[in-house]
């Protein structure tokens, strides 16, 4: 059954478009998705996730679980960044700046992985607590801030006061476009409810899967163009990038099950939030917060290693773990 779900995940339109994009880059096709089109698809998908979640929450109502979820997401964000940073500096002797940057990328949330975990559940028709996607900014900001602070503590340059302060980092995380669109969409969907939103759903709901698929073509093109950078990557760090998502998934799935989420909700929490490695917002944050780090390294790990592994193995794995834990705990 696991194999079947992995196959289904592999042979789904988003994965295949991702593969097409990588292949087009590898054969040096002149195929390009205009930057503005990619950016717009990204904005649209985040908004749509928020709206869908908001409409669903409007139907089911809010309860204590949302607050508990937010706290759990924040703690996991800190924990994963701390664990990653420690592993990278102690075990693999990576310098503080790069360790902080990589740990931040992997602790932060990958909106693409979030989108794909939702399309996966949609396709296998598994329901989930609609608010889980909205925990994004809690885990994301917690992980980024923790990783940056850890790295700065060890860097002399932290004294030149050139980078942003902790408060600035928090504000940056909470005003980031991903946060604004997800939470904004959620609030709008919640206020209007299914009736008020009905006439907008042909855009935000019906087209969601198709746009997510087509968007993966763009992501694949970008990932394919960076394949070469993998060769330069230290083997240990590569191992970290292959293994870390799995550890993230196991830790997060356990905690999510303990706070009472359904298997669908656990899946999104474990892989959509914790397992993915950010390659859209984290690089920008890290570029100004830890400029000494090599931006190509963390980007290649997140985009070329973690994303494909997560798409093919991580998402079905998270789902099976969630189903298993639901029985076991």
């Amino acid at each position: 059954m696991t194999a079947e779900v992995i196959l289904q995940s592999f042979f789904s339109p988003p994965t295949l478009f991702f593969a097409l994009g990588i292949m087009a880059a590898v054969i040096k096709s002149d195929l390009r998705v205009p930057d503005e089109a990619g950016a717009t698809m990204g904005l649209f998908l985040l908004t749509a996730i928020g709206i869908r979640a908001g409409v669903a929450v409007n139907e089911t109502g809010i309860d204590l679980q949302v607050a508990i979820g937010a706290i759990a997401a924040t703690l996991i964000g800190c924990l994963l960044a701390l664990a990653g940073y420690t592993m990278l500096t102690r075990l693999f002797s990576i310098d503080p700046a790069n360790a902080g940057s990589i740990a931040g990328h992997f602790g932060a949330v990958s909106s693409m992985t979030l989108i794909l975990s939702i399309t996966f559940l949609d396709q296998i028709k598994v329901t989930y607590e609609p608010f889980v996607a909205a925990l994004y900014p809690f885990m994301d900001t917690a992980a980024l801030v923790t990783a940056i602070l850890l790295a700065r503590r060890s860097l002399s340059s932290k004294k030149d006061g050139n980078g942003p302060s902790t408060k600035e980092l928090l504000i940056e995380g909470l005003t980031a476009r991903t946060t604004v669109l997800l939470i904004g969409g959620l609030v709008i969907g919640f206020i209007t409810g299914p009736q008020g939103m009905a006439r907008a759903l042909p855009l935000f709901d019906t087209l969601f899967f198709g746009v997510a698929s087509f968007f993966m073509l763009d992501i694949g093109l970008v990932a394919g163009a960076r394949l070469a950078e993998l060769k330069k990557v230290n083997k240990f760090v590569l191992g970290y990038a292959l293994l870390m998502p799995v550890i993230h998934v196991l830790v997060a799935a356990t905690i999510a099950t303990l706070i009472g989420l359904s298997p669908g909700g656990v899946t999104i929490f474990a892989i959509g939030l914790a397992g993915g490695a950010s390659f859209i917002s984290a690089p920008i944050v890290m570029r100004t917060a830890l400029p000494q780090a090599n931006p190509s390294l963390s980007l290649a790990l997140a985009l070329v290693v973690a994303l494909p592994v997560n798409v093919i193995v991580g998402i079905p794995l998270a789902y099976h773990t969630a189903v298993f834990l639901a029985g076991a705990l």
Binding site: P34, G42, I219, V222, I280, R287, T288
Partner: protein, 104 residues
């Protein structure tokens, strides 16, 4: 027509705003920004990443000032604060002639 200096800074798009803040502390009277450049230098190829982020793009910021010393001070400040060891970028100076020198 009078002599003036044009300082040109080509650097990473992510620090555009910070460079402009620095220019403001030097009380420049104006500047012009060209966006979405690509380029190559010591720190490798810098070019867009699909629509995902502007993080590997370059910008070009041009500042015209009438006073050569001020021009040099701006270049030095930008160079030491941003380019020396942190961000990819270059800075250079050109001699130009302008119509209303008091504007610059």
């Amino acid at each position: 027509m009078a002599e003036a200096k044009k300082v040109v800074i080509i650097t990473e798009a992510v620090i555009e705003e910070k460079v402009i803040q620095l220019l403001n502390t030097h009380e420049v009277k104006g500047y012009t920004v060209y966006r979405s450049l690509t380029g190559k230098g010591e720190r490798g190829l810098r070019s867009g990443l699909g629509g995902l982020l502007n993080f590997s793009e370059n910008v070009c910021i041009e500042i015209i000032v009438s006073d050569e010393l001020k021009a040099l001070a701006i270049m030095e400040a930008v160079y030491h604060k941003f380019l020396a060891d942190k961000f990819a970028g270059i800075a250079y100076l050109e001699d130009i002639r302008v119509i209303r020198p008091e504007k610059f």
